[in-house]
């Protein structure tokens, strides 16, 4: 008798308790579902079709994949993507780390500096791109070339020279991404035990030794996060290239996603573009899992 009385009441409470968090999550989940997961699923689905929205899609199996993977322009883009992704990720981590070391502290001037340094992150990439096009302007009217002219150099054709265009894009990407890493590393630095620094000072270590044996080990978790984010974001570069060079000159800055975009939207080959995107998704997934594996193994050790 007592059992039959208590059970529904307990279940009622439980149900309420378990429904409530989901209700709070619902708006976010709804948005993620509609704008992320459904389109992603649809993209994977379309990659197996010759997409003809009006005439009806035609199943082509793995044709889109073989076409993308054997296309020589996609193959050229792999090298650019790897170089740009790796260069901008590592560059941004290094610069972010240096910025964090420089700007750590509580003084008001540092707070203002940190805010100023963080601004590129909250600026739209398209705007940043247009701004850097002006900075890189290939005559002495461009700010960077103006600076170079004081040193008796230039004017350099940053974006119009196929040998430098990719590097110029990389510099802009580092400028844009580094502050974000800085914030994460700053949080890591704030957690470093001060007494370790004092002990190190007592032992009379050099600056380099202090960085290598105290600071770096202490911010390992922060670096882990930064590396994971880099693995996720590194290879999907698109906007930077699209607004700065459009993949040119002579395809020297063409990356995987700009190629996929051209395929999908100027050549109307949605199936091929989907296949290319799925390939990138798989590679990114693999890369992220690998980075996480090494991070966890390091944590255990």
């Amino acid at each position: 008798m007592t059992a039959t009385l208590t059970t529904p009441r307990r279940r009622g409470v439980l149900a309420k308790r378990s429904v409530l968090p989901w209700l709070f999550l619902a708006p976010g989940l709804l948005l993620a579902l509609v704008f992320k997961f459904l389109p992603m699923g649809k993209g994977i689905w379309l990659s197996f079709f010759d997409v003809r929205p009006f005439l009806g899609d035609k199943w082509v199996g793995l044709d889109n994949y073989t076409r993308v993977l054997t296309d020589h322009r996609f193959q050229d883009a792999i090298g650019h993507t790897l170089l740009l992704g790796l260069g901008q990720s590592l560059g941004a981590i290094l610069v972010g780390f240096l910025l964090a070391l420089l700007l750590e502290g509580q003084a008001r001037s540092l707070k203002i500096m940190r805010t100023a340094v963080f601004l590129p992150v909250v600026t739209a990439t398209a705007v940043v791109g247009e701004m850097w096009r002006l900075l890189y302007y290939p005559t002495s009217d461009g700010l960077i070339n103006h600076g170079l002219s004081f040193l008796g150099l230039g004017p350099a054709q940053f974006l119009d020279n196929p040998d430098t265009a990719l590097w110029a894009t990389m510099v802009m990407a580092v400028w844009m991404l580094a502050p974000y890493n800085m914030v994460i590393i700053l949080a890591g630095l704030a957690g470093v035990d001060r007494t370790l620094y004092e002990a190190a000072a007592m032992d009379g270590v050099s600056l380099w030794q202090r960085l290598r044996y105290v600071t770096l080990p202490a911010i390992r978790p922060a670096l882990g996060i930064v590396l994971t984010l880099a693995a996720i974001r590194g290879l999907r570069v698109f906007t930077e290239v699209y607004v700065l060079t459009g993949g040119g000159p002579a395809g020297s800055t063409e990356v995987w996603m700009t190629r996929a975009y051209t395929l999908g939207f100027t050549r109307n080959d949605i199936g091929g573009a989907s296949a290319a995107s799925v390939v990138l998704l798989c590679v990114t997934l693999l890369l992220t899992v690998t980075v996480n594996y090494f991070r966890k193994r390091g944590d255990v050790r």
């Binding site: 009006f54 290939p138 459009g246």
Partner: protein, 444 residues
């Protein structure tokens, strides 16, 4: 514990299910435009708000005249939106968009074939203009609406200052460009002027769009019809090699500042040197006239025919067509709208600017009208003459988008590497174009 987990899972499932139904409901609820009425046409144009204001006047006049209502949608990212509408199998009734897209749309089955005789006033459009809407199967798939041809915009104050005349040949053009670049035509004592503006990026096919006029003038073609409804790539011809070599050697790899700096990564949106007043020539479409009248100013420049190459002075012509969406079932109303759009009255409204808004018809397709007279601006007669006498469109029947993109990629690469071998670069392009045609089953 297990019980609790189970009920949690149940709650999660219910929430997700609720979400899915919620979205489905939202999805079906939002599709309640007023285009459903039998006497209402849904019309799309690829227009920014400025041009849309002009279309608003055109459609208002049409509704007043015929009583047929228009649900007008100016769409900036037209093709992406159209693809998503196509996937719902419910297309807009009438679309106004670029001539060069006809082949692409037709191959996707988006268009209704058109019999010119069913459009009142069809005989006021010339045969040359009508011929530009013939599809791969010989049927018409569009109604010409607006046409334009490239002309040369040139700074007449600079010419006057340097004692030069507007160029009529490639050689003269090159001489003027060099003078503009080196002889300080703006008189500020600094070497900060450039000969001509070139949107030379491969992005969206710009290099091919700009380069087409020069190819025509050099006697080259990108692809050629074989007369049996098939095509062959023609970019390995001697004329093409000669033309591209001339452009590379003189404009991109020759004297400094003949073209504006950054030309190889410039698209029209950031090739603003003519507007900014530091470049003296720009071979471009007449839609820019409104912009250039504001800056650098109406009295500083003139509009002249493009300088002639070794094979003539043909320039690229393009424009907009009226397309009927497939399977929309409002043929009578659509034909009435098309008839109005091509009538002298409809064209005239679209050619005039009210409150400074951009006109949407450049050269009228209706042969009863004269662009210069309607606008009271003699410069437009230069454009109209160029279109009527010395212009050539991209072939309209095939899906030209991949062909244009591949041509642009190749031209951009040849212009970038000054040491490259033009003949082998174009041979490679020709093979790529053959592949594009083969994909469409159009290769001879």
């Amino acid at each position: 514990m297990g019980d609790r987990r189970r009920s949690r899972r149940l709650a999660a499932t219910l929430t997700v299910a609720g979400l899915v139904f919620g979205t489905a409901a939202c999805g079906s609820g939002s599709d309640s435009a007023d285009s459903g009425g039998p006497n209402t046409l849904e019309v799309w144009t690829r227009s920014n708000p400025d041009a849309a204001a002009t279309y608003d006047r055109v459609f208002a006049a049409f509704t007043k005249k015929t009583g047929i209502k228009i649900d007008y949608q100016p769409v900036v990212n037209f093709d992406q939106q159209l693809q998503s509408r196509a996937s719902t199998k419910d297309l807009p009734d009438v679309m106004i968009n670029d001539t060069a897209l006809m082949g692409s749309y037709q191959s996707q089955g988006l268009l209704k074939p058109i019999t010119p005789d069913t459009i009142a006033g069809h005989d006021q459009i010339t045969d040359k203009t009508w011929s530009s809407t013939v599809g791969i199967d010989g049927k018409h798939y569009g109604i010409p609406y607006s046409r334009q041809a490239m002309t040369l915009m040139i700074r007449k104050d600079w010419l006057k200052k340097l004692g030069l005349d507007a160029p009529t040949t490639w050689q003269e053009m090159l001489r003027v460009a060099k003078a503009f670049a080196t002889e300080d035509p703006d008189g500020d004592g600094k070497a900060d002027t450039y000969g001509m503006v070139v949107p030379g990026s491969a992005q969206n096919g710009y290099a091919a769009w700009w380069g087409a006029s020069y190819l025509w003038q050099g006697g080259a073609r990108i692809i050629e019809p074989d007369g049996n409804g098939r095509y062959r790539p023609a970019m390995d011809s001697a004329a093409a090699v000669r033309t591209v070599t001339w452009l590379k050697d003189n404009l991109f790899c020759g004297a400094k500042n003949v073209v504006q700096p950054g030309a190889l990564t410039a698209i029209t949106a950031n090739a603003t040197n003519f507007q900014d007043g530091n470049a003296g020539m720009y071979l471009t479409g007449p839609y820019n006239i409104t912009t250039f009248d504001a800056t650098p100013g109406k009295d500083t420049y003139e509009v002249v025919a493009a300088p002639a190459g070794p094979a003539g002075s043909d320039v690229l012509a393009d424009g907009e067509n009226v397309y009927f969406g497939a399977k929309t079932g409002k043929a009578k109303q659509e034909q009435a709208l098309a008839a109005f759009l091509i009538s002298p009255e409809g064209q005239r409204i679209a050619m005039t600017s009210v409150d400074g808004h951009q006109p949407v018809v450049r050269i009228p397709v209706n042969s009863a009208l004269d662009a210069a007279k309607v606008r009271d601006d003699s410069r437009w007669s230069v454009v109209q003459k160029a279109y009527e006498d010395t212009s050539q469109q991209f072939p309209n029947a095939p899906d030209f988008a991949p062909i244009k993109q591949d041509t642009a990629d190749s031209l951009n690469a040849i212009f970038t590497y000054c040491g490259s071998d033009v003949a082998s670069g174009l041979k490679e392009l020709n093979d790529t174009l053959a592949g594009d045609l083969k994909d469409q089953d159009l290769l001879k």
